[in-house]
Symmetry: C2
Subunit: 203 residues, 2 copies
């Protein structure tokens, strides 16, 4: 919690930054938190925060114990062929979460979201800004079926529904552990769920 006057390198500093970020994200939400404020709380130079984490989404991923920065994954998926976004999203998602450690992390995330108002808020703000914000911006400007900003609200609903399908898949596979969904292979899930995401996101 309270940093003990440390400053430069090492795991100690990194940990102090994560702890400071955890407090700031919880108290001020994702949007209200700045790297500068986190550095102040951790009593380190702001440059060190950049050095260790790169930016706010990576720091958030570290705080939430998410193995990879979701916004980077989304970027990679969006850079691939537009007509296979759905399938790529399913495969990428399963690659990140689909082992025992991932399952436990997902359970912890859901548990936090249903028990702590602050966790829900920072998760929502992160998803809106770093994940859906990116998806909506990229698809709105490039997609042939989204010619203007007029379809923006519809696209936001559809991005939210794409997320709902991924969250629901994880709920059935990692929490409810519905047998047929647990036993399905990545190929089967990509073939079945991919078109759903494709339709939501690209139309």
């Amino acid at each position: 919690m309270s940093p003990r006057g440390r400053r430069p390198g090492g795991a100690d500093t990194r940990q102090a930054i994560v702890e400071a970020a955890r407090v700031d994200f919880a108290e001020q939400g994702y949007d209200g938190t700045s790297l500068r404020g986190i550095a102040r709380r951790a009593e380190v130079d702001p440059a060190l925060v950049h050095h260790y984490f790169g930016g706010k989404p990576q720091l958030f991923a570290a705080v939430m114990d998410i193995p990879v920065d979701p916004s980077a994954l989304i970027g990679a998926v969006l850079a691939g062929p537009r007509d296979r976004i759905g399938e790529a999203l399913v495969r990428t998602f399963l690659r990140v979460w689909d082992d025992e450690a991932g399952r436990q992390r997902f359970q912890a995330l859901v548990r936090a979201a249903v028990t702590h108002e602050e966790a829900t808020r920072m998760l929502r703000e992160f998803l809106v800004r770093e994940v859906f914000g990116r998806v909506v911006r990229e698809l709105a400007t490039e997609g042939p079926e989204e010619p203007s900003g007029a379809d923006q609200p519809a696209l936001e609903v559809r991005a939210g529904l794409a997320a709902s399908q991924m969250i629901g898949l994880a709920m059935m596979r990692y929490i409810v552990e519905f047998p047929a969904v647990v036993e399905a292979t990545h190929d089967e899930l990509a073939a079945l769920v991919g078109p759903t995401l494709q339709r939501y996101l690209v139309g």
Copy 2:
């Protein structure tokens, strides 16, 4: 918890049956629980359990504080036009959960599922037996595209994915509270999510 020698009618008996059922479902799962065992624990005649609740799914709904018996709703949806099952499921689901009381019940369900192993187990067994079991049986025997039992496993995955979409929608609307999904009307959600369920269940 321990019944105080009561027997016949009234809210007292009904409550004793619900409490006995809560213990049995938690200890033995949904499948392992019998109405006879519940009657024994509640120290009432088994006929009274039937009288008050009808059967095991209705009693389970009472224990879980679900406003309606999901298996009855599923039956009603399956009885409607086969080509509008997806849309009907979305509308029925939203009608049940989409108010403040429903939102709180859904949060309580998810909280129980991520914190208590027994709650997860009984919820899974109930969903498999009373909800998906019914969907799979009805679609497998009637659907023109499911001629034999050979497609049964695939149908079970697809029924599980239909459930995943509904659970995910509820997560985004009632727990994460993603703005665009919260603001969407029932008509919009039926139009967007209906085809997803339709494709999973009917193909």
